[in-house]
Every structure is written in C-alpha cells, then in structure tokens.
Amino acid sequence: MPVDASIPQDLESLTAALEAAEARLQSILQTVPDAMIIIDEHGRVESLSATAERLFGYPKSEVIGRNVDMLMASPHHEQHDAYLKRYLATRERRIIGIGRVVTGRRKDGSTFPMHLTVGELQSDDRHYFTGFIRDLTDQQLTESRLRELQSEVTHMSRFMALGEMASTLAHEINQPLTAIANYLKGSRRLLERMTGEEARVLREAVGKAADQALRAGAIIRRLREFVARGESERRIESLPKLIEDASTLALIGAKENAVRVSFRLDPALDLVLADRIQIQQVLVNLIRNAIEIMSEGGQRRELDIATTSVGDDMVEVSVADTGDGIAPEVMARLFQPFVTTKRKGMGLGLSICRTIVEAHGGKIWVDSRQDGGTIFRFTLRAAEGGEQSLVE
C-alpha cells in the first residue's frame, strides 16, 4: 500500500476525529453545570460554557477572542497578563491545581465572590488554561449571616455570664456589705454618746462610710434586677443634678492629677426619664476613664462634660478628654464585654454602660476628637412635653 495514499485518508479521519472532539467539547461546555472558561497563553478566551455566559452576563460572541481580564475585578483585572507571563517564565504555580477565592466582574459592572480552579493544557508549544468557576455569592451570604449570628450569640453568652456572675456575687457581696454597714452604724450610735470635737468628726466619717456601703448594695441590687429583668427603675430626674452628683463622686482625686474640668450644660434641658443610680454609674465610669487616660501622659488635661438636645425628645450627654485617644481597631469593639485598653481591668465598665444606656432607650458611642482625645456620647429620653402629655 502506497504510503502517500494513506495520508488523505488519515487526514480525513483525523479531521473527523477532531470534529468529533470539538463537538464533544461544545456539548460539554453547553451542559457542564460549573462555569468554565478556556484561554490561551495570552489570556484570550478560546471558549466558555453556557453557565459561564449566564454567570458573567455576556453572550459568547462578546467574550471569545478578548482578554479574560474583562471578567475580573481589581487588582486581578490589571495584573492578569503579568500573572500569565510570570507563570510561563517561571512555571511557579500560584493558582493552577490549587484554587482560590477571587472576585469576578459581570457585564453590568457588579462584582461577586467566586472560587476559581485552573487546569493547564499543553499541546506542541502552545498553552491553554481552563478555569472552573463556582459562584460563592449564596455561600458567602450564608457564612456572613452565620458569623453575625455567632457574634451575637457570643455577646449574649458573655452577657449571660455577666448576669450570672452579678447574681451570684450579689448575695455573696451583700453579706459582707451588711456586716460593714451594721458595724459602722453601730459605731456611729456609740459615738453619738461621746462628746468632744474628735467624736463629732469620727461620727460624721463613720456615718459617711456606712452610707457608701449601702450605696454599693444599691448598685449591686439594681445591676442584678436589671440583668435578671432587663429593666431598671426609671424616674423623672433632673439631668443637671444627676451630672453634678456623678461628677462630684468621679472627680475625687482629679485635682491631684491636675485635670481641668468644664461643664457646658444646656439650661433648657432639665428632666429625663432615668434610673438615677445607673445613669450616675455610667457617668462615673466615663469620667473616671477620661481622668485615667489623661493621667498617663500629655500636657493638656481637660475634661469637658456637656449636654445638648437632639431630636424631639432625646438629650445627648458627652464626656470629652484630651488624652492620647483610642486605636481604631479597639474603638469598634470598645463596648463589648471583656475588651479593655487598660492593663488592669476586666473590660466590663463600658459594656455595662452600653447595656444600661440601651435599656434606657438611648445609644452610646465614641468618637475621636480632631485635636486628639476621645469623646464619649450617650443619649437619654427627655421627660418633658411628650412624656408628660403621654400620661395625662
């Protein structure tokens, strides 16, 4: 059999085989459930599956022959040609056979998360790359929802832990507090029968100490009631009086730290609906934190406490310091339990503040001041006008 006679026949069968292969490929591309794109070594699209057309929103005709980077979002969009060149020069695999999550870009410009795996095909000296793409939009939504839920649960479980702790501690601490108050009140009674200047001074001091033991008891009682019932005992209270009392308590020792304190209280704002003890606790906490942060360094030590009216029936209270400020990454989580910037401290103070303020129907947040320092703000419901008429 002549050798050359076989060539056309072979060519014919080769062509037929090629056509059959092409047809198989096309049928695969039409039916494969994953998005699939084949590119050459220059990044030009050779063919793509029907799913890929739908996923990216382009008809085949608008993609074939064009650079595949049109389907990518930054930074891969700009870098893809360089990736290809580097791979062909170094053969160092960064995605081929590994797979990773990248961002795709649809025809309408919108982007979406996708998982990309790349296979390599070499014939003669030409390279082809096949990309398999899975759309992760739904999966990521589910995951982010899961993460959100998880963080809520974490917050709740930490808060429950806090509540449990408050409840158990309450009884344990109330016992010694009762003993302290009893001994002090008894001593005060004995001192009442004694005469002289010293007895008078002692009597007063012992009486004040007893009052503080009772105050500690009141704080614990309210915290526990509040954690257990999520409610606090709100009354119509004078805001300036609240602030005055709380700052008196919190500013003990502030002079030694050379802190200058200024008050800017809106005279038009008076009555709020608040649990006096709890809101004082919030204020004392914020003021003490401010003083503490300023005593760590810095020349300017100025504390500014102000009130303003916001909206119809809310009042905003702010406590600003001139300290070194708070790192942004900490700031975002500052009101979560067990987050603290202090070396000593459990990170419960601000978490309790947040819980108290939110239970009062208000909000608490923190901002950085432009000239350095931090400003904490919280809102309370005003008790004038609206609230009164609500009742009458």
């Binding site: 309450a170 009884h171 109330n174 016992q175 010694p176 507090l177 009762t178 003993a179 302290i180 108050a181 009893n182 001994y183 009140k185 008894g186 001593s187 009674r189 004995l190 007893a210 033991a213 009772l214 500690a216 008891g217 009682r221 526990r224 009631e225 019932r229 999520g230 409610e231 005992e233 709100r234 009354r235 119509i236 609906l273 129907g361 609230e387 609500l390 009742v391």
Partner: protein, 204 residues
C-alpha cells in the same frame, strides 16, 4: 423598752449575725444569735418574749419554713425577714406567711430598728401599722386608674412588656406610669412598693 424582750437573730453568715448583734446592742436591745432556724427552734422553749430577725435563704430550714413552724407551734413571735436576694416573689411569699416586715440587705439601721421597735411593742405595732396603712392608702388615692393597673402588674411580678401587652399600651408608656407610681407612693425600690401594696391588701 422591756428588759424581758429579746431580739433573736438567725443568719447562717457569722459576720452578719455578729454585726447585727453589735448594732442592736448599741441601740439598747438584748440580742441572742442563732446560726440556723433549727438551732433557734431548739432554743425556743427557753426563749423569752421578743421578736425574730431571720435571713430567708439558709441551708437546711429556710426562713419561710421557719415561719410555718412557728405558726404550727403557735409561737406568736413577730418575724422580720432580711434577705440578700431582693426578689419580689420571695417578698410576697414572706409577707403572706405573716412576716411583719421584709428588708433587703444591706439596710439602713433606722429601717431595721424601726421595724424591730414596732414589732416588739404590739400596741405601738398595731397603731403604727394602722397609721402607716392609712398613709399608704392616702398615697394610693392619688393614683390614676391606669397607674393602679400598672401597680397591680408590678406587684404580681410582671415585667413592663407583659403589663404593656395586657393593658394594650406601649411599654414606654408603662415605664412612665411606673415612674409616676413609684414617685406618688414614695417607694425607693420595687420591694418597698410591694410591701406597701401588701399592707393595703391585708387592710382591705
């Protein structure tokens, strides 16, 4: 006061017992301390007239059970209950079991001594109870109908949200009513409000 009258203090916490004995003795009372309700009942045959100041949650026999025992034994000693757990349900139970007063720890000495004073002097006790009931009644008169509804819910231990739901108003409005009730009744705490309500209830 009569020297034959003794204040019996029952608390499982030694520091609380001893500090109470100290406080009461500075106020001129004869005091006997007991570490448990059972120990007190054992000492009871020799016990003189007086009154009982007891913790409510104790290992073994608790304060409520002690009250029941005293009633069974027909011992007429007035009982003042003190507790570190300020819970409303417990306060209501203790008062219904016949306690003359319910006081949360830690307490102001004047509150406790006032309660003991009126418990020891039956005549004073009755007279005081009467005048106090009258005073609380006057305060209750000043409550509006809605405020009374909210008071009833609070005494039943219901949270604001439930009260709001039952009355068909917002819980925000309940809060305002609640604040008004506390102010008008001059109650410092929910448990004090409950005490007043029980006082009124038993007077009816």
């Amino acid at each position: 006061m009569s020297s034959s009258q003794i204040v019996h203090v029952i608390d499982d916490d030694i520091a609380v017992r001893q500090s109470l004995a100290f406080l009461l003795s500075t106020a001129g009372y004869a005091v006997r301390v007991h570490e448990s309700a059972v120990a007190f009942l054992e000492a009871l045959p020799g016990a003189q007239d007086g009154c009982v100041v007891t913790d409510i949650r104790m290992p073994g026999m608790d304060g409520l059970e002690l009250q029941r025992q005293l009633r069974t034994l027909k011992v007429g000693l007035p009982v003042i209950v003190i507790t570190g757990h300020g819970d409303i349900a417990l306060a209501v139970q203790a008062m219904k079991a016949g306690a003359v007063d319910f006081i949360e720890k830690p307490f102001d000495d004047d509150v406790l001594l006032g309660a003991i004073g009126s418990a020891l002097d039956r005549h004073v006790h009755d007279a005081e109870r009467e005048s106090r009931t009258a005073e609380v009644g006057r305060r209750a008169q000043s409550l509006s109908e809605r405020e009374r509804d909210v008071l009833a819910g609070l005494v039943a231990g219901k949270p604001n949200k439930i009260i709001a739901h039952e009355l068909g108003i917002s819980s925000r409005t309940v809060e305002v009513y609640r604040a008004n009730v506390m102010t008008k009744m001059r109650a410092d705490s929910l448990s004090e409000l409950v005490r007043m309500a029980i006082l009124l209830d038993s007077a009816l």
